[in-house]
Amino acid sequence: MSEHSKGHSSLGAYFGVFATLMVLTGVTVWAAYQHLGIWNTPVALGIATTKAVLVALIFMHLRSSPRLTALVVGSSVLFLAILIFITASDYFTRSWLPIYGR
C-alpha cells in the first residue's frame, strides 16, 4: 500500500487546485453561452467531471490513499453508470415499439 504523505508539501497543490477550479468555473459559464449544438451538455459535464476529479485527488487525498480506497470510489462510479444506463435504456427505447402504455 502507498505511503501516507504527511501533507507538508501539499499546500501549494491546494492553492493550485483552487485556482484551477475557479478558472474552470469561468470556462463552464462561458461555454454555456456558446452555440455548440449537441455538445453543450457534454462540454459542461466534462468540465464538471474534471473539477470533481481534482477535488477527489487533491482535496480528498485520493492520490495518496490506499488502493482499496480507489477501488471503493471506482465502484461508486461503476454503480452510478449502471443506474443511469439501465434506466436510460428503458426510457429512451420505449418509443421504438408501437404499443399502448409504452
Binding site: 501533507g7 453561452y33 459542461a44 468540465i47 464538471a48 452510478l80 443506474l83
Partner: protein, 231 residues
Amino acid sequence: MASAPSHAAASAAPPELRHHFVDLAAQKEASSLGMWIFLVTEVLFFGGMFTAYAIYRETYRAAFEGASNLLDLRLGAFNTVVLILSSLTMALAVWAGQQGRRRLIVLFLLLTMALGATFLGVKVVEYKQKFDRHEVPGPHYVIPLDEETHQPLPRQSEMFFSLYFCMTGLHAAHMIIGIGLLTWLVARARRGEFTVRYNTPVDLVGLYWHFVDIVWIFLFPLLYLLGRHTL
C-alpha cells in the same frame, strides 16, 4: 498494511487507540475507508435524482431549458465560488490538523462554516424569489413566461422546478448537517483534542464537505447553465 507495527509502539498504546486496532495508522485507515463507503452510498442517493433529471430533461427539453433560464445565474455562480473556496479552507483545516496546530484548525474550520452559511443564505434569497414569483411546484404554481419569447413555457417546466427544489434542497440539507459537524469539530479542536498523532475526525468531516462540494459542481451546470445557449 505496509509494515507490521513494532511491539514497543503497541505496548505503549496511545489513549486514542481502540484496542481492536494494531496501531493508529490502521485505525485511521479503517475510519477513512468507512467514510468513503458512506460517500459511495451518497453518490447513489444523489445519483437517483441525477438520473431522474437526465431522463426528464431529455424528454421535455424545451421546458427544462426555458425553466433553467429563469434561475439567477449570478447567484448560482457566486455560490459556486463560495463553495469551492470553502473546500479550500476545509483542506487547509485538515492540513492544520495534520500538524496539530490548534489555532489554525479552529480558524480554518470557522472560515469554512462562515462560507457554508453564506452559501445557505444565498440559497434562501433564491428560494424566496421562486416563492414570490409562484415558480414553486404545487397548487400555486403559475406557468412562467419564456425569458426571450415571452410566451408561456410548456407545462412540464413545473417538473424542472420540482427537481430543482429536490436536488438543491437535499444538497442544502447536507450543507446544514456539514455545518453541524463543523461546529462539533470546532468545540473539540478548541479543547486541544486534535494533535499530530490523532486528527481523524477533521479528516473525515473534510471528506464529507468535499463530497458535498462535488455534488454542487455537477448541480451548477445542470440546473443553471443548460439552456443559456438558447438565449
